[in-house]
Amino acid sequence: MNFIYDPVPWVINWLTQLLLGWGLPINLVNTLLYLVGAVLICLGAMLFTTMLIWAERKIGGRFQDRLGPNRVGPWGIFQSIADMLKIFTKEYINPVGIDKIPFNLAPILAVAAVLAIWAVIPFSETVFGANINVALLFIIAIGGLGEMAIILAGFGSNNKYALLGAFRAVAQLISYEVPMVIVLLIPVMFSGSMGLNEIVQAQKIPFIIYAPVACVIFFICSIAENGRAPFDLIEADSELVAGYNIEYSGLKFGMFFVADFLHAFTSAIVFTTIFLGGWQGPGVEQMPVLGGAYMLIKTLVVYFLMLAIRFTLPRFRIDQMMALNWKILTPLALVTLLVTALVDKSIPHEMTLVRIGALVIVNVLLWLLADRMITAYRKRNPIQVVTGKARPLARPEILPVVEKEAAQ
């Protein structure tokens, strides 16, 4: 095995031989290597998060016509590191009446629930973690632990706003899990497996072409699961004091922060793996290390898209958000699933082009139909625009002449 073409398995092989040479039993060697791999991935992910925070602030600044961080290092690149150093030395405030164990467990669990997803992601054809045959469900299930962390934080804090924020957050997360779980059935159907390795291997043509509607629904849901704008009601600063993490301080708060940013990037990875073909790309068979590069590029594109949405769209109201989920996404996801299953079953698999064409046409039709129905519904129930008198101006004389006349 050549080092240049596929470095990671080469290193693992070399390490295994070395350790075996020392006379260690094979089971122990495997366990040790697993341990090393897990520590490397976890630490790497968490340190990567500091870079993500910088990138997000910088890009966000550009979107909003600001400079973003620009003081520490070139382009402010060390800003997050400075922030990290600061937050490490901040005091933990333990408010009165907290429930000690849940209060302290919550930030740990919040990060762990996100990190755990990295255990099943295939980074390239030869570099993957646990190749369990239920990886897709595992990713969703581990999200449940994240919800648990939020509940722990909310009720451990002994603060009614924290509790209220936690419950709103959980209501949002569980609601958006429904269409997400439904549309994830579609990639499983196409690849015939719930293992992420098999799903990626089945994507010679990425599933985004087979199932664009499912792809869009999944994308919306994963943004909502992150609690990012436009679904950032979890931390809606102007409405709830700060959500469930109001009583946290120091690194305990920082952990929620890390979990939030890491979760955004992780869902970009998951999206890439499930719908964009993961490490698939030209020349991967000869040079598996290229797969990692493809994966990274695709993930960054998806991540950038998420940032663009985050920094441009305003926030939903909670009733709008729930209506979007239960009245649009969930029925659409169910119909998409059934129609896809029916169409795909009725066309023989040998006719690949016909099959893809039919699926694309069906998806486009579904999208148009959904759009028509929503528009028709809006026509019947127009949005009530709340208007009132304009606020009196402090200095009316500065108004331009035209507007002044209009005002009179």
Binding site: T31, I108, A130, A162, V188, V241, L251, M255, W326, L338
Partner: protein, 118 residues
């Protein structure tokens, strides 16, 4: 197969241990100067009134309920999705019936107005 689960178990342990270790180190590094005002419950500077256990409205439960039912339903469909390439058209029709039965439940909840956030 058990090897994969072993790796997963190790990974989960590490994923719990690293944040815990970071929190522990930060706890050693950080100052500890508590005082009653600092430690009081934060409510934007207002005095805390009543217990923190406020009454919640039933809407949270309703969403939880609909979520539970659809979650269980979808999980049951996963084995079918894995076997999708092998099932006959009969299997697909059966799943359509299965989903239709549950979708009628969603329709009931919708018509009842229980999905509105009020």
């Amino acid at each position: 197969m058990l090897n994969e689960w072993l790796y997963l178990g190790i990974f989960l342990t590490i994923a719990l241990a690293i944040p815990a270790a970071a929190l522990f180190i930060a706890g050693l590094l950080s100052p500890k100067k508590p005082n009653p005002i600092k430690d009081s419950t934060y409510e934007c500077g207002m005095e805390t009134v009543g217990v923190s256990w406020v009454q919640f409205k039933v809407q949270y439960y309703i969403y939880g309920l609909v979520f539970l039912v659809f979650d269980v339903e979808t999980v049951l469909l996963y084995p079918w999705a894995v076997a999708y390439n092998k099932v006959a058209l009969y299997g697909v029709l059966e799943v359509i019936l299965f989903v239709a039965i549950l979708a009628s439940g969603l329709l009931y909840v919708w018509r009842k107005g229980a999905l509105e956030w009020v």
